[in-house]
Symmetry: C2
Subunit: 471 residues, 2 copies
């Protein structure tokens, strides 16, 4: 039997955490409602903004994977630096995949020990980071002959990505000359938009941001798959895992559907005042998956209006934490502060590398560590934390990973995306829009002097200027 | 006049954010109370657990800095890799200083462009990361002749740091032989404890964790200063900044004391249901200062009992975010979700590096970016976000940094530590203990079979085992 990631939610129940938990009966009673929602999702899947559900399945899968594998095969021998330009949903998945599935020291390793180029994801407009990254890339590849820029933008008009792209494109052009376009892979709208027209004009290789796949649901599309594949990640296994999880989460029986269980629990907890949702892996490499989760959960569920147009200010606040590290930083608060959180722990059964504590430092208080493995200690800390949280009546759950590999990462991603779809239905909101981001965009255009946005410049200046409340 | 970091709190006031803000009158009325608290802190400073207040001042300052500078001068020519072992307060400050004041690409740079050795902070017991780090260190220094291990542990009994230390110590011993101790710098209790006795027996160089300085308040002691100094950070300027801020925050006049203003505002907001406190720098290098802040704020204020022994479950949840990146991830929630947050933005006036958007990609929708600087865009996004938050009646404040350098980082650190001291007084809790961490520690000892903790092993197993609530 194939191993799978599993969800242990016992510590969410009142049997374990008293009045702060959910009664087993309440969960049982939710079965009918959740089975209806499953039927509803099974019906809408693959349509509208739920086309992401079909990314791990043919025909979309083959349409994406085959060109990616062909392209990476061509690029791999001539690429030493990959610079990814994107922000939000166009970067978080890429970063999470690299961090989960490549070594922590990946960029430091010599080429023959890496499965692909060094990778730099620029997901911000920080001038220091951009300049330092360019310096470092040019240090090992002064003529940029072995450097590829992967720009990811559906429209091409996101200010951050556009600005970065203009900087990198110009650098490539000036350094390489007319053939610079061979060093750009653009992932963008296949039909329309500013980036599309640039690509057509300049003749870049492109891969699609598929129609009906929003940024935060795009990690299993070319948006996330291309940079992963080029850096040696097994994207077929990733999609296999996602597909298998999709099957599990399509089951009407609540007891067999982990996404339905978790969505119901988390939204019920939210209703009961526990709207801070922590994701705390006990494994460094899974930590940045929590950043991906943060966007998914925050942007999908944080909505002022429900579908009926009522003002609800819905949403839950995703928080990332790292075990054991944050036991020495956050657990004091999680146990003794306001009981307003649900804490999701993640535990890995088998680590790829084994490290043992040697027995040659013989002092009595540390003798219990002799001959024990580091993984054993890590997982003991995790159990101890689950216990300590339970003792303080703080609801928590554990996602068990048999190991860290592409298959289980694929499972994890599809699991949370489907959980989010359920959560959207339970809250009665649209999980696929992000209306509140608009004001910041147009205000930025105004401040940057983009024609047509002059009124915004005035609005912002008038509102913020002249503060004497400064100390 | 010396430039300083400043706090702009205008967007916390009801004039700006309506009913969700604080009335100017309420702030005025707090002046008398806050001036009393200032007097009280000025009296207790330098005593008990408030000895950290004096770290930037002589005589403590000279007692720490002089041996550190002497030691780093000796080590610098023979050190290519620095491995720091510590967790929580013994790591977060070190990581934050490196990240704030050294380039993002620091470890990738060749030696002649770096001001010190490559630095690896191991603040977790992840076997993959430990093994990968050792591989990488040995790759460039197979005989470990140019490698220094800096272990930081007051007692020596923190399981994670102890286990890591036993692994690294044994590796050094076996590779280098009897002189391996020259490659260890221990920062520990100057008088007592397990690590102290190991150091005395093995003859390591040591630096003190000063008495009365708790982990989360120790960044300006040798705990944070040693690795910083070895990696080229100007620790004198760091302490100059902290000292100058300490002076500002000792002033009884509320209007001139940024720590008193911010503490009062944040605790008042907490009382009014806004207990999620976001710190969101618009600069990648300041992002990990938010991790340092997370520990300080969570562990200091998250307390079940107040000083009178009443059950209060006090505390606020610190959240880290990064601008502009998280505009594309969290701001949708911050604007439209539950109005339960106060959002602290950080803005940098001058970046060390300048990057300009070139004008050679001429498409109309992007023309407004031609010739603009990346920093200009970054700061426009910050203003746009402050405006957008204000428009949605979400309280926010801005910490303005003239530039990113050691002086201003020192100001920032002392500013938040003093803010935390005020917040503890306002909540009536002990900001310096962490009683809830104990259960996890002893439960871990139990699970790992440490003699004397058998009952905990049974307790944890009995409580967690046999869950059928797994899907």
């Amino acid at each position: 039997m194939t191993e799978t990631i599993t969800l242990d939610y016992a510590n969410c129940l009142s049997e374990r955490v008293g009045d702060h938990g959910i009664e087993r009966d309440a969960l049982h009673h939710a079965a009918a409602q959740m089975s209806q929602l499953t039927a509803s999702l099974n019906e809408t899947r693959g349509t509208g903004w739920e086309r992401w559900r079909d990314l791990p399945f043919d025909p979309m899968r083959r349409e994406h994977v085959d060109p990616i594998l062909k392209l990476t095969e061509e690029l791999l021998p001539r690429t030493e630096n990959l610079i990814v330009l994107g922000i939000g949903g166009s970067a978080l998945g890429n970063i999470a995949l690299q961090s989960a599935l490549n070594p922590a020291t990946y960029n430091l390793m010599p080429r023959d020990q890496r499965n692909g180029p060094r990778v730099f994801v620029l997901d911000n407009v920080d001038p220091n980071v951009i300049a330092q990254t360019i310096d470092e890339v040019k240090r090992v590849d002064p003529k940029l002959e072995r450097t590829v820029v992967n720009v990811i933008s559906k429209s091409g008009e996101t200010a951050e990505t556009a600005a970065q792209f203009m900087v990198l494109r110009s650098l490539l052009h000036q350094t390489i000359g007319e053939s610079y376009g061979r060093h750009i892979v653009a992932i963008t709208d296949p039909e329309k938009g500013t980036m599309r027209s640039i690509c057509d004009r300049e003749g870049y290789v492109t891969l699609p941001v598929p129609d009906g796949v929003g940024g935060r649901f795009s990690v299993l599309s070319p948006v996330g798959l291309f940079s992963a594949a080029l850096c040696g990640i097994d994207i077929e296994r990733l999609l296999d895992g996602a597909r298998a999880m999709d099957d599990r989460c399509s089951q009407p029986d609540l007891k067999r559907n982990p996404a339905a269980v978790l969505a119901w629990l988390l939204i019920e907890f939210t209703r009961r005042g526990k709207s801070n949702h922590v994701l705390m892996p006990y494994a460094n490499s899974l930590y940045l998956l929590a950043d991906w989760f943060r966007q998914l959960w925050a942007e999908s569920l944080g909505k002022r209006f429900n579908r009926a147009g009522e003002e609800v200010f819905a949403g839950a606040t995703p928080i990332k934490a790292l075990g054991t590290t944050d036991q020495h930083s956050q657990v004091q608060l999680y146990r003794e502060g306001p009981n307003d959180k649900v804490i999701g722990l993640m535990e890995v059964a088998r680590f790829e590398r084994e490290v043992q504590v040697p027995g040659d430092l013989d002092v009595e208080p540390l003798r219990y560590l002799h001959g024990r493995s580091i993984a054993e200690l890590l997982n003991a800390e995790k159990s101890a934390t689950a216990y300590a949280l339970m003792e303080s009546q703080r609801p928590n759950f554990t996602i068990h990973w048999p190991a860290i590999n592409a298959y289980h990462v694929g499972e994890f991603l599809q699991f949370w995306m489907i959980t989010t779809a359920y959560a959207g239905l339970l809250l009665g909101i649209d999980a696929y829009d992000q209306p509140a981001v608009e004001t910041g965009k147009v205000a930025t255009f105004g401040l940057m002097g983009r024609p047509g946005y002059e009124e915004w410049r005035e609005k912002v200046r008038r509102s913020l200027e002249g503060s004497e409340d400064r100390v």
